[in-house]
Amino acid sequence: MPPNEFDRQLLNRLVANRTSRRRFIGGGAAAAAALAMGGSFLAACSSDNKSATGGTTSTQEGPASGTLRISNWPLYMADGFVADFQKATGITVDYKEDLNDNEQWFAKVKEPLSRKQDIGADLAVPTTFMAVRLHGLGWLNDLGDIPNKKNIRQDLLEASVDPGRKFSAPYMSGMVGLAYNKAATKRDITKIDDLWDPAFKGRVSLFSDAQDGLGMIMMSQGNSIENSSMETVQKAIDLVKEQKEKGQIRRFTGNDYADDLASGNVAIAQAYSGDVVQLQADNPDLHFVVPESGGTTFVDTMVIPYTTQNQKAAEAWINYVYDRPNYAKLIAHTQYVPVLSDMTDELNKIDPKLASNPLINPSKETLAKLKGWPALTDEQTKQYNDAYAAVTGG
């Protein structure tokens, strides 16, 4: 077994019939798109009403109580977890799985947030770059006293995007790499160049998200994502454009690459680690690999919008999640890489195989090949996104 492949049978057993959270049917995505479009449209039509109806931030003293409204990604939660939290704290949770796509979610919430109007959530779980964006716009509250914050992995606690984790609390982290269908490729896939193999013409899918899509390609060109520039990004975009014009690339996908991969329409796809576990349960020919030249990581983070109506309960939730035995239950469900340190003992208590799962506990060699995007300026993000969208959207 190549060092970067994961034990399929073990993974199959672990996932049983769960669907990972990044996998969702396109219908939901399109409906969300329609909603988001409708929302911003109506907002754009309304007059310049700048009167803020917000300012309802809870400042109550004493223990947290009341209702906590959470927006999270679909299937990113363990069974019974919310109920246990309610029992332990007396807080009522209104848990919604209405986060499907960072940019589309942003398109939906930016108008109300810019007017300091409630967005129907006291805590949300966007990906790091989105959390940084919201923070930059001044739309996030700082996290108050969260005793269990000390359990966060050191590298995440000190991450340059939010040193000391003042406004964003990591929820799950995962790997962005390549997934392939061995029945279609007939060989092992190890590097980015395999994507451009003429044998797979029209059977490759890439992420339309600039960071997830371009990161590993930049690394394969010998460039670093840690100090990116428009030139290095453009070089990766030019390569994608060339391959697109050749007909190599079948689709630019969001999280909906999974179906094409499983059904064999796509032979190699850029993929998120957790998804492949689920897909392997139905299709043992699927494999996940971090390319030789390296892959990227993503971290989804819990944030408290400044329109929250229950700051204390949100903090209590984060504290509860950061309790190691509780967090182990989440990991056992989502199969992603823990954001807390020293999880081995707690994971072993649930299932000894969890801690030895390379998808949950990546090997040193794998970790060495993974890089995370640093915080980019707004202008950089917009430049990169727009330049890539010109290729993926046209």
Binding site: A36, A44, L137, R251, G264, N265, K382, N385, D386
Partner: protein, 291 residues
């Protein structure tokens, strides 16, 4: 007596206006206002911060030139796809509508019901179902491959044909129903009369049936062509990176790039082209009234 008659007459004058009032109010709120907003956005330029740009209305026609020059491929492709889909719909729907109108007898309602039945399932689900049917490893591709009928890409899904097929499939009901309505209205005695005058079947079709069905052809093709040219779902699910339609570009500009002026300008360009096309088409077919 005279007074009462006057007030009756006055009331009957006002009544039509009162009756169209709700529709006018509705159109005012849900069509005129958004349209004005769209037109205004399309002529604005965005400035200010990156994520909260302010739109300044300054007759920025450059948006239109950029929209057209950057995306003319997608615009042309959209109209080629939509035209092909409309023609396919017409070819498929005419015989069916004819059979329902003239030959179905007591099965008329049953067949009409069957035509409408698939549309109880949502548009998205039906489109995604085609992904499964046309999958590379599916039986359709296998069967077509074995008789050598596959397009040059060696697959069906993610080709132009899949997108055109999806458009045809999704909008054909809007061709069948108007055609059926206009064919149904034809008095069969006119056809009998043409036969009595020694016309061949073909001549009764071209001289009697087709001209009388023209309003249905016109209405049907507009109902298919207009939504098909702005569609993005079919190209999204059934297409590839090389079958992008203008609807996909607009969707991406609105939701991902969030360049509202560019997106609005593209929407206006799409609308204008459709409008001009429809006017020319209506004039060419010479039909004054729709249906």
């Amino acid at each position: 007596m005279a007074g009462a008659a006057t007030s009756n007459r006055q009331r009957s004058k006002i009544a039509p206006y009162l009756m169209i009032l709700p529709a006018l109010v509705y159109l005012g709120i849900f069509f005129v206002v958004p349209f004005y907003s769209l037109a205004r956005t399309s002529l604005s330029s965005s400035g200010g911060s990156v994520y909260l740009p302010t739109l300044d209305f300054n007759w920025d026609f450059a948006n239109y030139f950029e929209a057209f020059s950057h995306y003319q491929d997608q615009i042309i492709r959209s109209f080629v796809y939509a035209t092909t889909a409309t023609l396919l719909c017409l070819l498929l729907a005419f015989p069916l509508a004819y059979v329902i109108a003239f030959k179905a007898g007591r099965y008329k309602n049953l067949i009409l019901g069957l035509v409408i039945l698939p549309f109880f399932v949502t548009f998205l689900i039906r489109t995604i179902a085609w992904k499964t049917i046309l999958a590379d490893d599916g039986w359709v591709v296998g069967a077509l491959g074995s008789i050598g009928l596959l397009p040059s890409e060696g697959r069906l899904l993610s080709t132009s044909w899949a997108v055109i097929g999806g458009l045809t499939y999704n909008w054909i009901i809007f061709m069948i129903l108007p055609l059926y309505v206009s064919l149904e209205k034809i008095d069969p005695r006119l056809i009998e009369a043409s036969k009595d005058l020694y016309s061949t079947n073909r001549r009764s079709f071209t001289k009697v049936i087709l001209p009388l069905a023209m309003p249905g052809v016109l209405a049907g093709s507009l109902l298919v062509f207009i939504p098909a040219s702005g569609d993005f779902i079919n190209a999204d699910y059934l297409g590839s990176t090389q079958t992008t339609m203008i609807g996909n570009v607009i969707q991406k500009q609105f939701l991902v790039v969030k360049d509202y002026p560019a997106a609005a300008a593209l929407s206006m360009v799409l609308m204008l082209i459709i409008l001009v096309g429809v006017l020319l088409y209506t004039r060419a077919l010479g039909t004054e009234d729709l249906v």
